[in-house]
């Protein structure tokens, strides 16, 4: 059976490699993907949105729907893990042997993470705010923020971390991010334009171009909040097996 599977895999792989020969050359200016929309983005995105980083402009403005539903997918994934793991009756005892409680916590780890975590969080905010100009944006910022909380939970204890950032807060934050995103879209709708057409935000006193820019920033903030909360709650649930008693 395994040999048949290997044969099939090899055959499909060979087919894929053969097909890859027909791809347009790497960096080809006349490839179909570069022919229709890309020149428009490259020429117009700076003057339409005042965002030098084309990736951010495309991600959060031209393709705002995509990013909104990506955020929703992340939210749904987090909620799914939560509902699957929390408060289920365990048939077998936990596979992880409970560690003997340390006599005195690990001072080196804790002080190093005390040094690192504030810098990580500031860096995450920097990444979020500078997504307009350099690689970065809401998603990366949210992941870095979540990673800083995970680092704290690793070096201290899951319980001390959850005492500061409880599960309820996490859930509310993860919903809040999606609400921020969809709320900005709905605000545009209320102001008489299309859903997520940031040009409608110019009633707050911006020019139309700056309205696009600020709309992108607000949307990225929503993405960051959701991703941060979901990443940490995923860690909390997966590492403790849903009991929220002890992490890794």
């Amino acid at each position: 059976m395994k040999k048949i599977a290997l044969l099939i895999t090899l055959a499909v792989g060979a087919l894929l490699i053969l097909a890859a020969e027909d791809f347009p050359r790497w960096g080809d200016a006349h490839a179909p993907a570069n022919d229709y929309l890309s020149p428009y983005y490259i020429e117009k995105s700076l003057e339409e949105t005042a965002v030098p980083n084309i990736v951010t402009a495309v991600l959060a403005d031209y393709r705002g729907y995509d990013t909104m539903f990506e955020t929703t997918v992340i939210f749904c994934a987090g909620i799914t893990v939560l509902t699957l793991l929390r408060r289920t009756q365990r048939k077998a005892p936990k596979a992880v042997r409970p560690r003997p409680a340390r006599q005195g916590a690990d001072v080196i780890l804790q002080s190093a993470s005390r040094l690192l975590v504030p810098v990580m969080q500031i860096f995450a905010l920097y990444v979020l705010a500078l997504g307009h100009h350099s690689p970065g944006g809401g998603f990366q910022a949210g992941v870095i923020l979540g990673a800083s909380f995970i680092l704290l939970a690793l070096s201290y204890d899951l319980k001390t971390m959850l005492a500061r950032l409880s599960e309820n807060t996490l859930l509310r934050l993860s919903a809040l991010g999606v609400i921020i995103y969809a709320g900005i879209g709905a605000l545009c709708l209320l102001l008489g334009d299309n859903f997520l057409a940031y040009a409608a935000l110019k009633v707050f006193g911006f020019s139309e171009v700056m309205a696009h820019s600020h709309g992108i920033l607000g949307v990225e903030l929503g993405v960051a909040v959701t991703v941060m909360a979901i990443m940490f709650s995923l860690y909390v649930d997966l590492a403790s097996g849903g009991d929220l008693d002890e992490g890794l």
């Binding site: 560690r99 003997p100 340390r102 006599q103 690990d106 080196i108 780890l109 190093a112 993470s113 040094l115 690192l116 810098v119």
Partner: protein
């Protein structure tokens, strides 16, 4: 002149990286391997990054200095994080009772300090 300094730093960094790799492959047990990895890795990364930061100052401008300062920040973080990570892995290995290497094989007789230290830790 600057090029010579940069090349010196990077060659030194590569030398220490080589030493680290040899140490990881050749040392006999978990603890001594991590000893090689933790120290050599930190030092060689710092040397390599310092070389890069200097090399970046060829065309002196505000942007170049900014990039160099960012590289210096990375050096600081590696200097904090890498030894801490090594310490954490070491500690986890000690908690999991990974056997250490002894020169003469005397399987019956435990390491004299071992039990005492464990007693101190979990009385």
């Amino acid at each position: 002149m600057l090029n010579i300094v940069v090349m010196g730093l990077m060659l030194l960094g590569l030398f220490f990286f080589f030493g680290t790799s040899v140490g990881i492959v050749r040392f006999p047990d978990f603890y001594s391997r991590l000893h090689a990895a933790g120290k050599g890795d930190t030092l060689s990364s710092i040397l390599l990054l310092a070389g890069l930061a200097l090399y970046n100052l060829h065309h002196l401008s505000v942007d170049a200095i900014l990039v160099s300062v960012k590289i210096l920040f990375i050096i600081v973080f590696i200097f904090i994080a890498s030894p801490t990570a090594t310490h954490a892995i070491m500690d986890a290995g000690y908690e999991a009772r990974v056997k250490h290497w002894v020169k003469r094989k005397t399987p019956k007789e435990p390491w004299p300090g071992e039990e005492r230290r464990r007693q101190e830790r979990h009385p």
